[in-house]
Every structure is written in C-alpha cells, then in structure tokens.
Amino acid sequence: MVELSIFQGVSWNVVSDVQQLFSYPFMVNALEAGTIVAVMAGVTGWFMVLRRQTFAGHTLSVIAFPGAAAASLAGLPLAVGYFGFCGLGALALAGIAGSRRSLSGESAAIGSLQALALALGFLFVSLYQGILNGLDSLLFGTFLGITSDQVTVLLVVAAVTLVLVCVAGRPLFFASVDADVARAAGVPVQLLGFGFLLVLGLSVAETSQITGALLVFSLLVTPAATAHQLTARPGLGIALSVAIALAVTWLGLALAYFSIYPVGFYVTSLAFGIYVLVRLGRGILDRPRATARLAGATS
C-alpha cells in the first residue's frame, strides 16, 4: 500500500510498537523531553490565550530561530541559544509593552522585532554553511539526538517556571481577565505582565527544542485554545490544555519515529485536527443554548 510506505518498521501491534519505542535510549529521552515540554506549554499556553498574547508568543518563537543558529555558529549547545535569545526577546517585549505606546504602535514594534529576528537567523545560517543540514530541524523540530543532559536542563527550567506560575497563579489570572480591578485590589499587574513574558520566553525556548521554532504554536497555542473552547472552568481548562499537549506530543513522537516526516509536522496536524473538531462541536452545542437564553430574556 502506497500510503503505508511512509511508515517503516511498524508492526501495527500497539504493544510491540510501544515496546520498540522504549527500547532505544534516544527515544526514551525524546519522550521524556516531550512530556516536560508539553506540560509546560499546556500551562503557559492557557494563560497566553487568556491574555491574548499569541502575537508576543509567535514573536518569541521567531526569535528562537536566530538563537539556535547563533549557538551553532558559536559551537555552543542549542539550548544556550534558545534560552538566551528567548529570554532577551521577552525582555525586549516587556520593554515595548512598558513604554506605553498605543496598541497599534506596540504591535508594529513587535512586528519589526520579528522581521529582525528572521533576518538575523538567516544571516547566522549563511555565515555557517554546516548548519544548513540541520536547518529543517531548527525550523520544524527533531527528536533525534536529545541527550539526557538536555532532558535535565528542560526539567529544571520547567520546574522552576511552573513553581513560579503556581505561586503567582491566582493574581496572574485576575490580572489577565480583569486588569483594572486587579490593580485596584493591589495586584502588581505590570510586574506580573513582565514576569509572564519571561515565563513565555522560557516556554517557547523549551518547546522549540521539540517542535522547531516555526511550529511552537502547535503545543503552545492549539491545545490551550482547544481547552478554552471545551470549558469555562479555569482549573479544568489548564488540566485539559496539558492533557491535549501531552497526547499530541506522545502520538506525534511515535508517528515520527515510524515515519519519514519531522515530529513537528505530526504534532501540529494532530493538535490542529483536535482543535477543528472541538470548534465544530462548540458551534453545534452553543446554538440551541444561545437561542434558549435569548428566548428567556425576551419573555
């Protein structure tokens, strides 16, 4: 069968296929890294969607690309480039947000930053010819060659940020849905905004290492947006966001292992598929309810 030729070495027996996945250390590393990244992206993504900061998130993911390219050029581990550039990018975004420009001025400034990041990325790539082989994995992700040291770094960064998000959770939620009232209640809205951008930068840096810089959204936005559609309860929403991110990461890694296409492609397609299904379902569910409410209001 033609369509099956893209899957190699697969037995179509779930138990033995899963055993095969766990028999290679590099694959175990990839699954561990994917799990860490999915949990972190699920949580921070939920807040990002709530705060309508997907444009900032996208900019940070574009900044991840020159970060990785610069690290290769300098002979440093990729993670150094990802964390360094995304951290600096988050500071730049916080500076733009803090300078109290108009909203349109702000998005224009962020857009310019994006363009600069892309240009820098390609500059670094062309300065260092050797990287060209790895260009598609920088952009679209890879599960090969994730070392256990890398997993440890991912785990430490994720644990620290998740603890921070837990400590700031409720005021961050307040500031995100209702900044004016939160400020009046004594919540440090601006400080939380800066802090969240930094957390977002770290999440993007982590996620890029699995999905590639261009497909960060598949883990950071799509599961979170799906969760927001599924429930209006905050706690449940965050749990669902993490669950969806985990499911698409595990499935995506398994599919990528048995096939010739990059992991980012599968994670993105799976996440998008779930999102479309939920959107359609939500449209069907909401219609009779909205009509009933309107009828109730006019009677």
Binding site: R170, F174, D180, V181, A184
Partner: protein
C-alpha cells in the same frame, strides 16, 4: 462630622493629567454608610475622582483620606467597578470565577479545592450572586452574557468582600430603564443593610434620585456637593458652569437640566497642546 466617621475625605485636592488640570480645589466628604452620586458632563473628571480615591492617580495638590488612611492603603475594604467594561465574546471564563476573584484574586498561590475555607468562599460567592439576581447565568462564560448581565456579576464581584466603601463608575450605563431602577434599588438596599458608603458615578440623576443621600457635581474643573435638590438647581449649576443653566422639574418628579454646555466648551484649554 468627625474625621473618624468619614469614608472618603478630599481636602483642597487637585489632579493634573498630561499637563492639564482636570479639577482643583475639591473638598468633599462621604460619610460611612452614605449613598453619594457623582454627576457631571463627559470628561469632567468623574472617573478621575474615583481613581484618586483608589490611589491609582497621584494628587497634584491637597489630600485625600480613605477609611481613615491615605488613598491606596485600604484596597481590601473597597469594592470597585470600573467604567464600561465588557468582556468580549471570546472570554470563556465563568461569571462565577470572575466574582470569586473579587474575594481572593489578590492572594498568591492557586485555589485548592476541598479546603474548608474554599467551601466557605464558594458559599459567599453564591450568596452575593443570589443578592444581585445573577444566579441564572453565573455558570455561563461571561463573554457570552449581555451588558446588563455582565454588570450584575461585576457588582457582585465588587460586593463579595463586604466592602466598607463601594466605588461604582457608571454601573447603570449599559442597562435598560427597568434594570437601571432595579440596580439602583439594589445598591441602596446594600448601602443601608450593610452600612456601606457608596460613590456611584452616573450620567443621569433621575434613575437614582429617590435613593440618594447626597450629590457631588463636577464641572468646569470644580466640584460642588450637597443634597440633590440643593446641587441640581439653576443657581448652583449656573455658578459651577459659569453660564446660565436652568433646572426644570417634570410633573413626574424627573429633573431636566437645560443649557448644559458640552465638556470641550467648559474645558477651554483642552486643545491647547495640539
């Protein structure tokens, strides 16, 4: 009136924003448990007055004390409803959770279900949602509710901590007439039952006229305060605007202000900077 009894006291206060004096020489007192309306044309600085009470804006001159402390240090005892706040349709958070934030939103950490304190808080949230008559839709995503429904939930949020001072910035704005009357009656009932001082910013005095203790009228960069019939009178308003104003009383008791100049005319220096 002793200083101790005052919920809010401004003394010779002034606010400057963007190099322009919004109002100055404002002295006024809101007593505990009193229902005060803040009236005036668009741009007169009503919202600015509320923000000064909250300590969100610094005074350029004078002083303000709130519940016996400097402004900004009593946030736990103040319920606040900002002006014209509509959650857009994409906000998929339950009204219930928004109200709950009024209770615990400033507390660090995350809510832990199952704690006895959590159960008590949930009970209080239900109670205050009942009080404002929003029980029928508190579980819906707030972005999908009408302006009036959102407003009731936001009033519940402002009330949930049993504040001593309630600051409501144009809470009647997005409501139809029967709802305006109902919310005004609700605010008055809370004010009396729970001895809450209320400063309610309104555009039109008529829906609240029957419930008010006193009125603060802002115009022309100055303020006057007094009983409604003293302040909403031809003499007082003409002096405040510096232009002839006539106040008519309709046969049903409604007040009509005639000859009220537009705010830009009053603030002659508005265009001075460009």
């Amino acid at each position: 009136m002793t200083a101790k009894a005052a919920a809010v006291r401004f003394e010779d206060a002034a606010v400057r924003l963007g190099g322009r004096t919004i109002w100055s020489d404002v002295s006024l007192t809101v007593a505990k448990g009193e229902f005060v309306a803040v009236l005036g044309p668009n741009g007169a600085g009503k919202s600015t007055l509320i923000k000064a009470v909250l300590g969100l804006l610094p005074l350029a001159a004078g002083s303000v004390s709130v519940l016996g402390r400097p402004a900004g240090q009593a946030s736990g005892a103040i319920g606040y409803l900002p002006q014209r706040r509509n959650f857009d349709a994409g906000t998929r958070i339950r009204g219930l959770d928004i109200v709950h934030l009024g209770l615990d939103g400033a507390r660090w950490g995350v809510p832990i279900p199952g704690l006895p304190s959590r159960a008590r808080e949930t009970e209080r949230v239900r109670e205050v949602i009942e009080l404002v008559g929003a029980a029928g839709y508190a579980e819906e995503p707030i972005g999908q509710l009408s302006g009036g429904e959102q407003q009731r939930l936001l009033i519940a949020q402002a009330l949930v901590r049993r504040p001593q001072l309630l600051l409501l910035d144009e809470p009647l704005d997005s409501l139809d007439l029967p709802n305006q009357a109902a919310v005004a009656a609700l605010v008055r009932r809370i004010c009396r039952q729970e001895q809450v001082a209320v400063m309610l910013v309104a555009h039109d005095i008529n829906p609240i006229l029957g419930y008010l203790d006193r009125v603060v009228y802002l115009a022309g960069g100055k303020a006057v305060e007094g009983r409604p019939e003293e302040v909403i009178s031809s003499g007082t308003l003409s002096r405040l605007y510096g232009a002839p104003i006539e106040v008519l009383r309709a046969s049903d008791g409604r007040l009509v202000v005639v000859g009220q100049p537009e705010a830009p005319f009053v603030h002659g220096d508005r265009h001075a900077h460009g």
